[in-house]
Symmetry: none
Subunit: 186 residues, 4 copies
């Protein structure tokens, strides 16, 4: 692993453990086992590592999505999308929160959408294929809908895992409800 990657991985660890405010460059370099000065060869400051962290996370999420989303019908496929996003949210909730917080602190809130774009695109491509296949209504705006779809699933998933520590059972009820809504919507 090269120095830059070492810094990013270490920064993720430290940020997750201490929160952004309490994290220091000293600790990041210590964990990365590089010299203090080396950090500044790659990044300007603690917060400027954030976009790279976001990138890393989106790549991981995209990987899992493309590996796991599948289905014969649109219903099966959407069901699988919901499952994956619930799983991803569970796994990366802290990291997501972290990035979100990091971006809000640096006036890069606007970048949030840009960072998420590849994920929206993934969903949109699914929709485009299904639309060409006649499985959705003719009037469907795929760009528009990809965001609603992702946003609504994520918002419910977050509420489940981020704040609630809800049971698996409850999660399943939520998932079914969501599936109905989405299928009706498209």
């Amino acid at each position: 692993m090269n120095k830059e990657e070492r810094i990013i991985e270490s920064a993720i660890d430290v940020f997750l453990e201490k929160g952004i405010e309490k994290s220091t460059v000293s600790e990041i370099v210590k964990k990365a086992e590089i010299a203090q000065g080396t950090f500044y060869l790659y990044f300007d400051s603690k917060l400027s590592v954030m976009p790279k962290i976001a990138e890393v996370m989106v790549v991981k999420m995209l990987n899992e999505l493309s590996k796991n989303v599948s289905g014969e019908t649109i219903e099966e496929e959407i069901k699988s999308v919901i499952d994956i996003i619930f799983t991803l949210t569970k796994e990366y909730k802290s990291l997501t929160t972290l990035i979100y917080a990091g971006l809000t602190q640096t006036q890069y809130v606007g970048d949030w959408e840009k960072i998420y774009a590849p994920l929206y695109h993934f969903i949109e491509n699914l929709l485009i294929v299904r639309k060409e296949n006649g499985e959705t209504r003719e009037t469907l705006n795929t760009t528009f809908t990809s965001k609603i779809l992702f946003g609504s699933i994520e918002s419910v998933a977050e509420q489940m895992y981020l704040y609630d520590d809800s049971s698996e059972e409850k999660a399943n009820e939520y998932k079914e409800e969501l599936l109905k809504f989405i299928l009706h919507g498209i």
Copy 2:
């Protein structure tokens, strides 16, 4: 305005302008026109102002909700709820983001739900009245639904105002779509 209120208002301004990380107690007291030491008579630290800020925001949001939500039928009422939440999101989006970021940094993420509780309650009370009136399905879980409802509206509204700078026209399309979904869901 007493000193404590002056601090809170000033902290909101400074946090919004500089982000939490770059904000300092010095700047907050300067804007509040009080002495450095006075801050510590009221608060322990920069971040300990956060809950008070959240309180202030929720009170403002509740005020606007109870002042403006009304309607003869459930459809009219939900329409009005959607309108208000879109308006509130637009007005308080930065502040919401700020509080959210502040809480994530202090491991108080869990408090997010507690802070939002009064808003959920407001929605829940609407649903309870309408359910007793026979305007919803018998099986409706009002607690459960109040969160889904608030969450989904807010998630769309945020996407509109926080990341998109979307047009009013587009917002209206979104609102209609949301209204249909919610009416169907309850």
Copy 3:
């Protein structure tokens, strides 16, 4: 002595001892027996103390000039001016060099003249009085001449003390030569 004065005095000591480049704020505050942070309440940086040091030196030089310059005739008075400037140069040569170096480093070279202005004025006032008294030529431009006079005396004195470590005897030869020149010139 207040904190600012303590910093200035200490800065003079440290700069003289170590040179500007090798001097550190840490050492200045240590010698001044104040806290590190206190320094930054009064000055922005190491070099920003320089103008204040210059002021201090000019005040000292003016004091000695006005205390010691005197004479019945213009010849006696100029002789006394030469003596004093030689003495001052000897005493403050390091400090002068220091300030000069400090100013060249901060693009404030132009301030050099401003700092010296009070000294030039002192000389000019002597000339004005003597001119009114008819002891100089009618066409003498006092402003102009005050600078030539000061400059030439100082230039010789510097060469004596700054680079030469010349003998007292040699210095006296120089002084006599200078006196002749100046009396002739005015």
Copy 4:
């Protein structure tokens, strides 16, 4: 241009632009387009470039002096010396200041005279020739006088160009005055 020359030229640029204190080896090598480590093959430190810079400047000044100083009589020759020193001062004033500052910082102030020695010698040689020719008084100490001469001209020239941004007209008045003084002195 070989690496060492590249370093010297680059160092002059950087020192002039940023001042010695704020100049870094990194910037010097960057401007010289050589590697960081290469600097240390030729110089020990930032300040150790200073003597070489001084050498370069003195060579340039001597060149211009020997190219341009000429005259049938001693009056013409001194006039030409004054002109050249004024011109040189104008051209190299920043560089001179820089070297002077650099030397003061390294306790090599004493080297100043050594660096200037070739210039003093140039003047002294002129005086020796003229003295042998009977154009000066018999008692003239040429070594002694070469320094006074150079010093007084330079001191006035500096005051003109370094601090004053004076007009060409004023400069000419000064030059005439100086010429009279010098001719009388020798």
